[in-house]
């Protein structure tokens, strides 16, 4: 085995590794969404966020428009504040939009459902850093059961 042939085969090995790395980066981990720097941030306060996690999807009618950037607790009224990082190409949502925490499928993970509101004169679009006023919390099974038992008790 002469040196040139060895170097060629090792070079092929390196090329194969780069191909595998590219496959993992682009097809498996999909770096595009997170490295897409052009985005703006909206905030929403919920009573209960259920199992929402950072990097959960934000969807409008099933189309992913952004990700949950961070989740924190408001220091004054102790409600969870969710920061939503929305891609800049979707920038003209009216102020009357609402967000709710939904579950994909029966056992799927939770995501933020974004409902664009109506837009008439005098209603402005949401800007970077705005709070979305109309929010619906995640469904918590224990609360549902509690409400059900409570309403049964009334009868």
């Amino acid at each position: 085995m002469n040196r040139a042939k060895t170097e060629l085969l090792v070079g092929l090995f390196v090329v194969l590794t780069i191909a595998a790395g590219l496959l993992l980066a682009l097809q498996v981990a999909n770096q595009n969404m997170s490295t897409d720097g052009e985005s703006y941030t909206l905030y929403a306060k919920f009573d209960n966020i259920g199992g929402l996690k950072p990097r959960s999807a934000v969807k409008v009618g099933g189309v992913v428009v952004g990700r949950v950037a961070s989740i924190s607790l408001d220091k004054e009224d102790f409600t969870p504040v969710v920061a939503l990082s929305i891609s800049s190409q979707y920038s003209a949502f009216p102020e009357t939009s609402s967000v709710s925490i939904l579950t994909s499928g029966l056992l799927g993970e939770q995501y933020v459902g974004f409902q664009p509101g109506f837009s008439i004169d005098g209603i402005e679009n949401l800007q970077d850093g705005d709070y979305i006023a109309d929010t619906k919390s995640a469904l918590v099974l224990e609360d549902l059961i509690g409400q059900f038992l409570f309403s049964r008790g009334d009868d």
């Binding site: 060895t6 090792v10 590794t17 595998a20 790395g21 993992l24 980066a25 981990a29």
Partner: protein, 258 residues
């Protein structure tokens, strides 16, 4: 009294072994491949890397295929066969890629390294090198160490990628999972820095451990045919145990507490 003495002597000799292993590793690390002798490392990368490609690709393909088959039969009961993508990708990237590659590498390349260096020692080639004022650590040990250190993470990446393609082959082409959901749910779940990078860090740690054990066992073997055979066996056993034990520690550190 003799028994206690024997325990003491055994402990001391074990600790001395660690000392020699540390010295050898230090010698190999200091002797970084320079531009002049980088061809030695390239040649060893051919031996430990390129020649391991076949077993890595075949095992990766079949492990991905088996995982897709097993995962599908369970997930389809919940109507969640769309989650097959993340199941295959996460188990390969986080665990099976680095671990199985390290185990195969220990069996395929580690044992060969031990036997080669052991035979060099038994036939006094290492002593001859020293007689010619060539440092065997620099000439023989260091290129092999760096070649293993570089090759194994590359093999682990290839293993994971091929495994995911194997899962695609069985899950999508054969069992009829939707191709779109296979990739898109995988993309939504797999994170570059958390899953892919932690897998790479794991395989770098395994690469150091396996290559270190393999080279040291050869360098430190008893220079007889029996000693070489014992050292080769020990290489495979010790590196497999070290990989599995370290994998638990690393997993606990990386994924244990959110």
């Amino acid at each position: 009294m003799n028994a206690i003495q024997a325990i003491g002597a055994k402990t001391l000799s074990k600790i001395a072994t660690f000392g020699r292993a540390g010295q050898m590793l230090f010698g190999a690390l200091v002797a970084l491949p320079t531009l002049k002798n980088v061809h030695l490392t390239v040649k060893q990368m051919y031996v430990v890397g390129v020649q391991s490609l076949l077993i890595i690709i075949v095992s990766g393909l079949f492990i991905g295929m088996v995982m897709a088959l097993q995962g599908y039969t369970i997930l389809v009961g919940y109507g969640a066969e769309g989650s097959l993508g993340p199941l295959v990708a996460l188990s390969l990237l986080r665990e099976l890629g680095p671990v199985v590659t390290a185990l195969l590498f220990a069996g395929r390349a580690g044992s060969a390294l031990t036997a080669e260096i052991g035979l060099m020692k038994a036939t006094e080639q290492l002593s001859s090198l020293e007689m010619m004022a060539v440092d065997p650590l620099r000439r023989v040990v260091s290129p092999r160490f760096w070649a293993g250190f570089i090759s194994m993470p590359m093999l682990a990446l290839i293993f994971s990628a091929v495994g995911i393609l194997g899962g695609y082959l069985v899950g999508v082409d054969w069992l009829g999972v939707d191709a779109g959901s296979y990739w898109s749910i995988m993309q939504a779940t797999v994170e570059w820095d958390k899953d892919v990078m932690n897998g790479v860090i794991k395989s770098i740690v395994f690469a150091i451990v396996v290559t270190w054990i393999a080279i040291f066992k050869g360098y430190d073997c008893i220079p007889t045919s029996e000693g070489i055979s014992k050292a080769t066996t020990q290489t495979v056993v010790y590196s497999s145990l070290a990989v599995l034990g370290l994998d638990f520690v690393l997993t606990a550190l990386m994924f244990g507490i959110e």
